[in-house]
Symmetry: C2
Subunit: 431 residues, 2 copies
């Protein structure tokens, strides 16, 4: 049986405000059920989701082919088309990721702190779900399942705007998830897509303060900027990474070579890959040839400032734009700085405050770097690739927060919760 | 010597964009100094602030008289004029409050969590200041000093928009604070007022994402709504309290009388005072006469629904508006409900999610109330007046957050901080 036999609304047309807000009301009601659902019930639903995805793999791949065909007609880039693609193997990977979430501790109900006041009143702050979590993203059908599963485990209803490019795929994925929710005895409205409401639906979602408790944008810098600027709903920004490594005067050569290569080459397309290398002038002649030589051998294009170019000529000249760029490719900007002050000033100007690392054997400089660099993750003598929820031991990765409110750095399931205070008394009044 | 001998700009005129953003840049530079200032330096500055306020009490009161005279001309309400007034005694109180903050633990540098990974990389999440904290408020000069002192202790620079009604008073207060900062060797720009930039300054402040790290609105529901709607800077909403108490069927009469009277009468003008009483139908005849009788004796006007009015006629009929109103006065709305479901449904519809309390001896109903009521603080058998930073043992009260992101319920100094991750390795790379 097709999961989409009875679509509840036409995929295009004028914005139906009543239907949109009725959907959000349904999400709120579902969120109330999820908030008090125990971990076993939520885990059973996740297992059912994985099962339904695999049971409907043909339908998912067929819907995805329609999206891909339309995407090619519309001239989507090969990178976007690749992210949009779901093969049977990728559906298996998505289902496996859902099962991984089953094994992670449920944050809901965790006691964060508590005390008994002198008058006998007991206070306890416990984790509770946000309620309704919205997500706005682009052309990434795996995010549909990923966010739905993370929201479900943390007791939140999810309202998803996955974008027109993946609309058919997302519709089938959400239908599979909703079928699984029904089997597990949880409300189907726990996970909804609002793609059928088009762009207007996305902008109404951003203004639905009070109905939507949290909004998570995922995708291009432009999409994140739009959501941050236009939302009245609280947003968690998972931003770009213009990540820096500083080679201090005292840096060990072997660590410098290993860490910079690992940070650039192991997976260049992700946000924790290094984009700019800053080298102390007194160490440039010693360190640049082995470090950049290893990178060139791995196929990295070096964008060097004048002083670095003089030491390592197998490079292209860097421009102002290079310092601002998140390459996400085998490219690295390199600059020689006079001292740690200049390195920190460069980072202040160009960093997106994601991750920065210094390679040094100078304790004072290490301490200064840790204290003065205002990024989510600041490292000494380690690869920037460690900024990752799985590496940090969180089990699941909701994203890397580059903002300061609520969550900073890798976010696990607890970051998808709020708290409330439970106060238990026996007739106490305030004196 | 007058603190305002050399005002740096005329108090009115066209918006000077360059001067405004230069001030924000100065705040950012000051924030960097404050971020690494130790507790002793910050406490010394707070002591100097208290000293300077008392040394300039005549000048403060004189400036305040000008604001009050203009306020009377402009027809400000007596409530607003009272909040605007600074007498020598009130200045003493404000200075004492600053000294209280000296005694509170500095949240900056606190280790929140940490672990050593199997590969030897050590992770530590520590509290760091936000950076630049903005505040937008109205006609409350005490908030100027209050926010400045809390920001200073937590290592944040403060940019204050205190509104035109208190502009002269705030200018003198900020000048006194800046003089104290100078004496203590901290940057004067750590605390600034942007009142001279007028309304345009306030709206630029709300859009200064990246330059301002956090915005705290304080004042009327309308002001808070404006800030929440128009800001791109992250906001912490310290909202209104339409606070409920539920008298369950099994409620003890003495607790019901004591708690409702305490919650309404002890200080009716604050956000944790009760505004609506919901009574189980089966207990209304037993409980309403003693509870409402005690309130009438204390001068409370009862706004009763039809069923409550039939039991306790010494009341005025309640209208729909009563359920939505934060009276902040000796008024209480009273409604008889059929059961706990109806009470919880009423709270969901009308509560501002600040604080709700149930008086009951039924364990199942207590647990349901704690689990199903989605407010910052949910109580059993205790007065709603306990929702307070000082009562919770936080030492200082930044406000009561009614939002779910970052902070919920009473906020202490730690809620004015973010965190960052310090990662210490010895050459580790990701495998």
């Amino acid at each position: 049986m097709s999961l989409l036999e009875n679509p509840t609304a036409p995929p295009t047309g004028d914005f139906d405000s009543a239907a949109f807000y009725a959907d959000l009301d349904e999400a709120k009601r579902a969120a109330r059920v999820l908030a008090t659902a125990n971990s076993s019930a939520k885990d059973a639903a996740l297992e059912a989701v994985a099962h339904e995805l695999l049971a409907h793999v043909d339908e998912i791949v067929a819907a995805n082919r329609e999206d891909l065909a339309r995407g090619r007609e519309n001239g989507l880039s090969s990178g976007l088309l690749d992210r949009l693609t779901l093969t049977p193997e990728r559906v298996q990977g998505v289902a496996d990721a859902v099962l991984d979430i089953v094994g992670i501790a449920d944050p809901v109900g965790e006691s964060v702190r508590g005390r008994t006041l002198p008058n006998g009143v007991h206070l306890e702050e416990v984790r509770v779900p946000f309620g309704v979590v919205g997500a706005i993203y682009e052309a990434r059908p795996n995010v549909t399942v990923d966010i739905a599963a993370l929201a479900l485990k943390s007791g939140n209803a999810a309202v998803l705007r996955g974008g027109s490019a993946a609309e058919r795929t997302n519709a089938v994925l959400v239908a599979a998830i909703q079928a699984a929710l029904g089997q597990a005895g949880l409300p189907a409205a726990s996970v909804q897509t609002i793609d059928r409401f088009g762009r207007r639906g996305a902008s109404e979602l951003m203004r639905a303060r009070g109905r939507v408790d949290l909004l998570v944008p995922r995708g291009s810098a432009q999409l994140i900027q739009t959501v941050v600027t236009e939302s009245t709903v609280p947003v968690i920004e998972t931003g770009a990474g213009v990540v820096h490594i500083v080679l201090d005067q005292s840096a060990r050569e072997d660590w410098a070579v290993d860490i910079v290569r690992n940070a650039k080459v192991q997976r260049p397309s992700v946000c924790n890959a290094v984009e700019t290398l800053l080298v102390h002038a007194d160490a440039a002649t010693r360190l640049l040839p082995p470090v950049l030589g290893a990178l060139r051998a791995a196929g990295v294009t070096i964008h060097a400032d004048e002083r670095a170019l003089a030491i390592f000529p197998d490079a292209v000249p860097a421009t102002e734009e290079d310092w601002e760029t998140e390459y996400m490719s085998l490219d690295l900007a390199v600059r020689v700085v006079d001292d740690l002050d200049e390195a920190i000033a460069h980072i202040r100007r160009y960093s997106t405050s994601h991750t920065e690392s210094i390679i040094t054997n100078d304790l004072g400089n290490a301490d200064r770097f840790l204290a003065e660099v205002d990024s989510a993750v600041v490292m000494v003598n380690a690869s920037t690739r460690f900024t990752d929820g799985a590496e940090f031991g969180f089990g699941a990765e909701v994203g890397i927060s580059t903002q300061k409110l609520h969550a900073r750095g890798p976010m696990g399931l607890p970051e998808l919760t709020s708290t409330k205070w439970l106060v238990r008394g026996s007739g106490q009044i305030r004196r």
